[in-house]
Structures are given as structure tokens and as C-alpha cells.
């Protein structure tokens, strides 16, 4: 019996689906332009200028991306690009809509000589979309079709396998950049940003994410035979050798390090989940999942015990009972939460002294850890306000939630597009992930399988961590919502991610090269 991958390949159309892709793309663009139009109609009763500037800009970019895909990856999966454009467009329209409400605050702050980070900025988002789709185009051009190895820049996804450890090192450097003094920048309690003069803030972890996938894929393809076969049987589980376990422990330790130094729970969770799942794909051994979950539990336990990591402990406490932390709550050693908000005496006492963070100071006095669930609660209120069909774009008040345009853009969309809109968004993510997984199954090479599988899974995991966080399914950790959140690094990294999947799907779906028997002795050898 042939493998599943072979079965899938056998059923693939082996034909260009560019017309289908174009139809879907037009649909995605109509969706985006309608969103812009609705914002304007709801707010001013007229089609907004932003629709032509911002919406039109996105259309030009998307069409360019389409032609590059048609020319350089004609057999690619037709659904990926339109889905990414649709997500990007909806996020963009939402940011434009939030910009209309928050830009006034931003200008007022600028007048007072301050910079206000918490403001949506549609103009920047257009620039980042431009850069993101530019990355997509560039990546498609650089990663050549495996058939055309004579191209000037001969680099395919497979090439990355040769530089496995170099890429791994690169990923670690990227991750550690924010810790470098003078370069790193702490925003909202997490040190995950670097400041580049003239460019602005970047989150290197977004790029490290992709490099990690390439590294894990390369490393595991080499080691998977040993890791999956050798080991002692221990009950139903077969335990690996210590020398195979070693690198796993290193990765675990590294993720803990990320958590400790940068206080970035989301990224640590993302990398560790990615590693465990890729380990499982490579070895098909359940024991690796067990070991992974065990290590995760130990990590969380350790993090909760250490006093300077009150972070994790608190996030779980907030998740269980956000109401107690509204406008400030103090988690005491006893596990009790006492309110420390502007209406409480202890808060007033420290506010009177001119303390910059009266809540934190008041809570320190009580010997507890201060935290505020306002953002999470406001996000949930947004969702509640939206209900089933939403208030309609431009008609809700999503700007009430802090960071409504980045971490909480999902709840902003939930308020105005409602349950219906969010289900559509989640379906889009689900479709990208499943198309990616299908590409992985159809790939003709173990390394590419792992690479595509990892890339798809990391996207699913990222959506789960951030969306689960803002909807109170799991404790909240900060991550960007792919294609929706405002921000450059996320936009670039995720468009590259799509480019990788598009390239791989082209490779998987194109017809196998024909041996040209007629020309005598010549025989083409597949370069896959």
C-alpha cells in the first residue's frame, strides 16, 4: 500500500490553478475594500478617502504578488495567497478604523512633547504591508524552483538543510538580540523588541520562529532514525538514549532562558510546542510528547516557584479570576487577591506620595504581586458587545481596549464583526494551516515534509496562543496575531512563511519531470 503522501500526490491536479487563485484573490480584495467602505459609511456616511489610498495600495500589492506567483510558482496551491491577502486586508481595515479613533490622542500626546506608543497607525501599516508582500515576492524569487537550479541565485528551501547549524545559531542570536544593552527595549513588561535607528522597533523573535523551524527540520532529519528506534522499553513507552535526550534538554533549557530573561511567556511556549510537535513528526514516538509535556510542566512549576518570576503565577491567577484584578489587584502569598485600584485606601496612600506606579508600590507594601486585568476584561467586554453579528465596522467601541490594534486586534474585530466574523477568520487560519499540512504530506523529501509541517504548525500554535489568550481560553501571553496585528516584524515573517508554503506547494504539485527518451542517450535526472 502506498503512503498517504503518495496517495495525495496521485490525486493532485498537476495543473496550474492560477485562474482559481485570481478569482479568490479578487474576492479577498473586494472583502478588504468593502471593509474600508463600511468604516467610512458608518462613521461619515460617505466612502472614505482611505479606501482609495490604503485599500487601493493593498490591491496593487496583492496583484503584484499574484503575478510573481503566477510566473515563478505556477503550480502553487491557489488558496494560500488569497487567504493571506484577505487576513491582511481585514486587519488593515480594522487598524484604519482604530486609527480614526486613536490618532487624536496620538496627536495630543505629540503636542505635549510625548510619544504615545498606544495608537493605531494606518499609514505605517500600509508601509509594513508593502514590506511584507515585498518579502513574499523576494522570497519567492530567491527560493528558486528546484527545476531551475541554473538560476542566478540558486537557493531552494532544501538548501537550508545544508546550513542547519548556522541557521540554528542565527535563530539564537536573533532571540538574544533584545537582551543586548542599548539595542533591546522593554515594552509592556517583555523585553522582546530591538530598536533600530531609522527603522523603528523590530521583534526578532518573529524571524527566529522561521529559522527555528528550519533548524529543527535539519537537525531532526539527521537524528530521527536514532531517536525513533534506539531506546529502552519502559512499560508502554520506550525511552530514548541519554545522548538523544541531550539536545532536547538543551532546547528546553533555552526556552526557559527566553522566559526568564525576556519575560516572554508566549515565545517560550511557541518554541517549545513547535519543537515537541516536530520531534513527534520526525520520530512518531509518543514518548517524546510525554517527555515534552513533562518538561513543560517542570518549567512552569519552576517558574511559578521563583520569586522574581511572579509573572507566570499571576497570569494563571488572572486567567482564573480576572474580575478580581480589574483596575489592579494584588496577589498575596496566601493566594488571596486584594484590590489595589484607585478607589482603595492603600492605592491613594501611594498616589499621594507622587509614586509613578501607586498600584505596584501599594502592592509591594502588602507583600504581594501587582497586576491588572483591565486589558483582558476590556477585550472580553468587546467580544460581549459584538455578540453574534457584531456592531458593524466603525460602529463599535473597540478602542476602549488597550492595544486594541495589536495584541487585542482579535477582540476588536470580534466587537465589530461579531461571532460570525471571528468564525470566518478562524476558518481562514484553519485553511492556511491545513493547506500547509497537505503540502507537507505531498512533499517528496523528508526535510521538506518536516519544514512545511513545522511552518504550518507554528502558525496554528501562534494563533492558538494569542487568540486563546485574549478570549480567556488559556492564560494571556503576548504574541502577534498573524497578518492582523499592527507591526512590521510579524507582517514580514508571516509573509515569508506564506512564501515558503507557496514555493513548497509548487514543488509538490508540479508534474514530475519527464524523461525524454527520444533524444538518445540523454536522460534528465531529477534534482529533487
Amino acid at each position: 500500500m502506498s503512503s498517504l503522501g503518495e496517495q495525495i500526490r496521485a490525486r493532485l491536479p498537476y495543473q496550474r490553478r492560477n485562474a482559481a487563485s485570481l478569482v479568490l484573490l479578487v474576492f479577498a480584495m473586494v472583502l478588504t475594500l468593502s471593509a474600508f467602505a463600511e468604516v467610512g459609511l458608518a462613521r461619515d456616511g460617505s466612502i472614505p478617502a482611505g479606501m482609495f489610498g490604503y485599500g487601493g495600495g493593498l490591491v496593487v500589492l496583492a496583484v503584484s504578488a499574484y503575478f510573481v506567483q503566477m510566473k515563478f510558482a505556477p503550480y502553487a496551491d491557489p488558496v494560500l495567497l488569497p487567504l493571506a491577502v484577505a487576513l491582511n486586508g481585514i486587519g488593515f481595515a480594522t487598524i484604519y478604523r482604530l486609527d480614526l479613533d486613536t490618532s487624536a490622542d496620538w496627536k495630543q500626546a505629540a503636542l505635549n512633547g510625548r510619544t504615545l506608543e498606544d495608537a493605531a497607525n494606518a499609514a505605517d501599516q500600509l508601509m509594513w504591508t508593502f514590506v511584507g508582500i515585498g518579502m513574499f515576492v523576494a522570497a519567492l524569487l530567491i527560493m528558486r524552483d528546484t527545476d531551475k537550479s541554473d538560476a542566478p541565485l540558486s537557493f531552494t528551501p532544501k538548501t537550508a538543510q545544508r546550513y542547519t547549524y548556522l541557521i540554528g545559531l542565527g535563530a539564537i542570536i536573533m532571540l538574544l538580540l533584545p537582551v543586548v544593552p542599548g539595542l533591546g527595549n522593554t515594552v509592556n513588561g517583555a523585553r522582546v523588541w530591538i530598536q533600530i535607528p531609522g527603522v523603528g522597533g523590530l521583534q526578532p523573535a518573529e524571524f527566529a520562529k522561521l529559522m527555528m523551524v528550519a533548524f529543527f527540520a535539519g537537525y531532526l532529519v539527521n537524528k530521527r532514525q536514532a531517536m525513533s528506534l534506539i531506546g529502552k522499553k519502559f512499560g508502554p513507552l520506550s525511552l530514548p538514549r541519554l545522548r538523544d535526550l541531550g539536545p532536547v534538554l538543551v532546547i528546553w533549557f533555552f526556552c526557559l532562558g527566553v522566559l526568564f530573561i525576556q519575560k516572554d511567556l508566549g515565545t517560550a511556549l511557541l518554541f517549545f510546542g513547535l519543537f515537541v510537535s516536530m520531534l513527534y513528526i520526525a520520530t512518531q514516538r509518543l514518548s517524546w510528547i510525554m517527555i515534552g509535556l513533562g518538561l513543560l510542566a517542570v518549567g512552569v512549576f519552576v517558574a511559578m516557584q521563583l520569586p522574581f518570576m511572579g509573572h507566570v503565577d499571576q497570569r494563571i491567577s488572572i486567567w482564573q479570576n480576572p474580575t478580581a484584578y480589574f483596575d489592579g489587584g494584588c496577589l498575596l502569598d496566601s493566594g488571596e487577591v486584594v484590590p489595589v485600584n484607585p478607589n482603595t485606601e492603600i492605592y491613594e496612600k501611594f498616589a499621594a506620595q507622587g509614586s509613578q506606579f501607586p498600584g505596584t508600590a501599594a502592592c509591594a507594601e502588602l507583600g504581594g504581586a501587582f497586576s491588572d486585568s483591565r486589558q483582558l476584561m476590556m477585550g472580553l467586554f468587546s467580544l460581549g458587545e459584538g455578540g453574534v453579528l457584531g456592531t458593524g465596522l466603525g460602529q463599535g467601541e473597540p478602542w476602549r481596549t488597550p492595544l486594541a490594534f495589536s495584541d487585542f486586534i482579535f477582540t476588536s474585530i470580534g466587537e465589530e464583526l461579531g461571532l460570525t466574523g471571528l468564525m470566518a477568520l478562524l476558518l481562514m487560519y484553519g485553511l492556511i494551516v491545513q493547506r500547509g499540512m497537505k503540502t507537507a504530506l505531498a512533499a517528496r523529501d523528508s526535510y521538506l515534509k518536516l519544514f512545511a509541517g513545522g511552518v504550518s504548525f507554528v502558525l496554528a500554535l501562534q494563533v492558538f496562543v494569542i487568540v486563546g489568550g485574549v478570549t480567556k481560553l488559556i492564560p494571556l501571553t503576548g504574541l502577534t496575531t498573524p497578518f492582523l496585528s499592527q507591526g512590521g516584524s510579524s507582517m514580514m515573517a508571516n509573509w515569508i512563511l506564506i512564501a515558503i508554503l507557496v514555493r513548497m506547494s509548487h514543488d509538490a504539485r508540479k508534474p514530475a519531470p519527464q524523461a525524454i527518451q527520444d533524444e538518445g542517450m540523454t536522460q534528465i535526472v531529477s534534482t529533487r
Binding site: Q225, G414, L419, A440, V463
Partner: protein, 491 residues
């Protein structure tokens, strides 16, 4: 070795992650949405209430409370003759009182009675329009009551009047002097001075607390008007009737040896008289003795038949203050002191610690006028959605059976006698019958002057209680006010 199998499993796991999110979003936006929208921490709760117009409150075809757009799509609340109708309408400025509070859901459109009717609107997330309310208040009589209370009350003091339809319990008048005009603090949600004004009114001036109305929410010693209740108890508990002989001579209080005086010596209040005469001439000593014979516990129990000892619910979340016949009270040291013999005798004439709202005394009169049955008092007749469909309608119901029909008929006769031949002969020709009351409230404090009764005299339809604070007695201090109000009600 092939990776397809684990890949497929991971693909399914990834799908489950997305499904998990879908389930959670469904849970939050479907099941939890209502709870989240009404969460006390949700700032939209406060921000949105001014974004849509609330329903109107009207009475007798006259719109008393309406919402008008002020600007920037915000609506303010406007009160016609605000101070006159304040005891009933209350106010709304985020916080609310009285009818504005009792039916806030209907007025704003949040109430399920409106939403269920418009399930499609709910489904598409459109907020329902608020309903209009129709009150049972007689607007002209209410205005008369306000004006007359103002005239009859001593400067710096208080007055209150209540008129109730005895067959339904519908309130026709609930007026207070002084009162507050909600236009001063509830018009414009953005006006910062509103809060200051509200605070100022809340603190009040002396005994005058404009935010606390003197018709439903404030209690006063009922004085001799309490004898209506005592007479009913005497009939049912002691088997008395109009001809039962009463000792109306001086009463020496058992504990202190002081005397409990009558308002006048001679007439019925000389040495002895039938109960009817003692009632008509308001002889204190006979009712003091009656209380001593009954004991304070029995009087307290008997009062419960009329509503004493509990907050009377007029509308949902809109209660009248609790009237009381205490069997004990806390002294200044915070110790509980039982009501002694002397205090029991004084309680029998509506003094000591006995207190009553004008509404409660009107309900006592209603029991007499309605053959012993007190109906639940209410002020909202109807709620109409914007499409004129009825979303609420008052449903008159019996509150308590306070006495037998015969006892009520007999008391009706006595109360007519008060006007024809007793302490209130000055009220003849006003088509009212009732009982005067003059309660002393302490050295240097004006009396609480009452006139509690019913009208028309021959076929009682309305019960009323009028109280004003000032010098003199109930016949002159409250009776003419009651007469003027009832003339307007009967018009």
C-alpha cells in the same frame, strides 16, 4: 520510515486547536455576551446609556419625562415640573431612583420583555427601543398638592400627601415639600456641575432632604390619626364597638406617674364616653388605656395587618420607607430598650416611637374605605413599546385584609362624624371624611399635623393622607390641604 502518519496526526491536532478557539469564541460571544454586556466593570454600560433615547414617562396624556438629543448623539433627560413629580418619577443620570429605576430596563430597551418581543432585533444585534410608561398619577391634583403643601408647611419644615384609589391601589397623588428638580442635575450627562448639585441636594438643609420625598420615603409620628388603626384593633381584639363605654378621664401613666393629657377636657373627654365619641373627639386617654390593655406586642402585631413593620413595595425595586410600631428601640448607648408601659400608652396615640409614612396612613384609611381590604399600591399603569404594543400592564392585587367589612363600615361612619360633629368641623362641605392627628415632635419642633381619610364621603373611592409640619393641629394644618387636593381628584 515514513512521516505521513505523525504529520496527519499533527494536522488533526492543529485543527483541534482551531476548533478549540471556535468553541471558546462561540461560548464568549454567544452564551456569555449578555453577562459581559451588563458586567458592572464594563464602561460601555455607562457610556452607552446616554447614546440612545429613553422612553417617555407620562400621566393622564401629559408627557412628564422625555429624552432630548443634546448634541453629539447624546441624549439628556428632561422633567416637566420636575420638583412636583419628583417623588414618583425619581431621576436618571446613570444612577436612578423611583420609577426611573424600577423600570429602567423597559425605558432603556434592555428589558427582556421588550427584547423577547423583538427577537429578530436581538438576533441581528440591534438594540431595542425603550418603552414609554403611563403613570396612574392625576397631574392636576399632584400640582395642587405640591402648591398647597408648600403654603401649609412652616419654613424649613416638611410636608407630604398621598392619594390612593382604594379599589385598585393606584396612587393618584404622591407629593412632597420640599422637593428636588431633577432638571438641575440629570439633564446633561456631561455637565460637571450636575454631580455637585446632586451632592448638595443629598446633604440637604436641616431636616429638609430634598432627595428624600416626604410622601413615600420619610416617616413621621402619626399622632391621633393612628387612632383609626387602634380602633380597628380594639374592635377585633377587644370586641369593642361604637357604643362600648370608654374611660376618658385623666390617665396616670403607670411607671412615671405623669398624666397623659387629653387635648381638651369636657365633652366626651370628661370622664367617660362611648368609643365612637372618644374617636370623634380624639380622646387620648381612652386610646392610651386601650394600648395598655392590648400590650405593645399586640399593637405591633395588629399594625402588621396594615403594613407596619415592612417596606411596602410600590414597584419592583421601588420601596416606601418602613413604618414602625416598635416593641423596643436602641438607646444612645446602643442598648436595646423594651417599650415600657408609659411608652405603650403613648404609642397608642401615635406618639413615642411610632412612625409612619403618609403612604402608610393612606393605606390605613384605604382599609376603612375599601371594606377592610388594602390593595397593593402602585404608580405605573402601563408600559407601551414604540409600536404601541403593551409590554407591561398594572395588575391590581390585594395587599392585606386589615379588618372585617362590618368594622370598616363602622369606622367609615366614625370618620364621617369627625367632620360633621368632631375635631374637624371646619372641613364640612369638602366631601371628605377622616381623622385628624397632631403629633408633638419635641421641644421647639413644629407639630406633625395630619388629616387621614377618604372621599367621597358617601361612596368612598379614594383614601388619602396629608401631613404638614407646623404649629397648631391637623384640622387646620392638613385638613384644608386634603380638601383642596380631593376637590381636584374628584373633578
Amino acid at each position: 520510515m515514513n512521516m505521513d502518519k505523525p504529520l496527519r496526526r499533527v494536522a488533526i491536532f492543529a485543527l483541534l486547536l482551531i476548533f478549540g478557539l471556535m468553541a471558546q469564541v462561540n461560548y464568549v460571544q454567544g452564551s456569555q455576551a449578555e453577562d459581559l454586556r451588563t458586567d458592572a466593570n464594563n464602561p460601555r454600560l455607562y457610556a452607552d446609556i446616554f447614546k440612545t433615547p429613553r422612553g417617555q414617562i407620562s400621566a393622564g396624556g401629559e408627557v412628564l419625562v422625555s429624552s432630548k438629543e443634546i448634541d453629539d448623539e447624546e441624549y439628556g433627560r428632561f422633567y416637566k415640573d420636575g420638583a412636583v413629580f419628583f417623588p414618583v418619577t425619581g431621576y436618571f443620570q446613570g444612577g436612578s431612583t423611583q420609577v426611573e429605576r424600577a423600570y429602567s430596563g423597559l425605558l432603556s430597551g434592555d428589558d427582556s420583555r421588550i427584547k423577547n418581543q423583538r427577537w429578530f432585533d436581538t438576533f441581528i444585534g440591534k438594540s431595542a427601543e425603550g418603552a414609554d410608561l403611563e403613570l396612574s398619577i392625576d397631574t392636576d391634583a399632584q400640582r395642587t398638592a405640591y402648591e398647597r403643601l408648600k403654603q401649609a408647611t412652616s419654613p424649613g419644615r416638611r410636608g407630604g400627601a398621598v392619594v390612593m384609589d382604594v379599589e385598585t391601589g393606584a396612587l393618584k397623588v404622591a407629593a412632597s415639600w420640599p422637593s428636588a428638580d431633577p432638571n438641575q442635575f440629570a439633564n446633561d450627562p456631561r455637565n460637571e456641575k450636575s454631580g455637585e448639585r446632586l451632592e448638595q441636594l443629598n446633604e440637604g438643609d436641616g431636616v429638609q432632604k430634598p432627595l428624600v420625598d416626604n410622601a413615600l420615603s420619610q416617616t413621621f409620628p402619626p399622632g391621633s390619626s393612628f387612632k383609626i388603626l387602634m380602633s380597628a384593633l380594639g374592635m377585633s381584639e377587644l370586641g369593642l364597638d361604637g357604643s362600648s363605654n370608654q374611660d376618658t378621664s385623666k390617665l396616670v401613666l403607670p411607671e412615671s406617674g405623669q398624666t397623659l393629657p387629653n387635648s381638651h377636657e369636657g365633652g366626651a373627654c370628661g370622664s367617660s364616653a362611648p368609643l365612637r365619641a372618644a374617636f370623634i373627639e380624639s380622646c387620648n386617654t381612652s386610646f392610651g388605656r386601650m394600648a395598655l390593655e392590648l400590650t405593645i406586642e399586640k399593637v405591633n402585631e395588629g399594625g402588621k395587618k396594615f403594613g407596619f413593620g415592612e417596606r411596602v413595595e410600590i414597584e419592583p425595586d421601588f420601596f416606601a420607607a418602613q413604618s414602625a410600631i416598635p416593641v423596643s428601640h436602641l438607646n444612645e448607648q446602643g442598648e436595646e430598650v423594651k417599650t415600657g408601659q408609659d411608652a405603650t400608652a403613648r404609642s397608642g396615640i401615635g406618639q413615642q416611637n411610632v412612625t409612619s409614612t403618609p403612604l402608610q396612613m393612606a393605606m390605613v384609611a384605604a382599609a376603612v374605605a375599601n371594606d377592610g381590604v388594602i390593595m397593593n399600591p402602585y404608580v405605573v399603569e402601563k408600559g407601551l413599546a414604540q409600536d404601541q404594543s403593551e409590554v407591561y400592564s398594572a395588575d391590581p392585587s390585594e395587599y392585606k385584609k386589615a379588618m372585617s367589612e362590618d368594622q370598616a363600615k363602622e369606622l367609615q361612619d366614625w370618620m364621617r362624624g369627625v367632620v360633621t360633629e368632631g375635631t374637624a368641623t371646619n372641613l364640612q362641605g369638602m366631601n371628605i371624611a377622616g381623622k385628624t392627628g397632631t403629633a408633638e415632635q419635641g421641644e421647639g419642633i413644629p407639630n406633625a399635623r395630619w388629616f387621614v381619610g377618604f372621599s367621597p364621603v358617601d361612596d368612598p373611592k379614594y383614601a388619602f393622607a396629608v401631613m404638614t409640619e407646623g404649629p397648631g393641629g391637623g384640622a387646620n394644618g392638613a385638613g384644608p390641604v386634603a380638601g383642596a387636593i380631593m376637590r381636584q381628584v374628584l373633578k
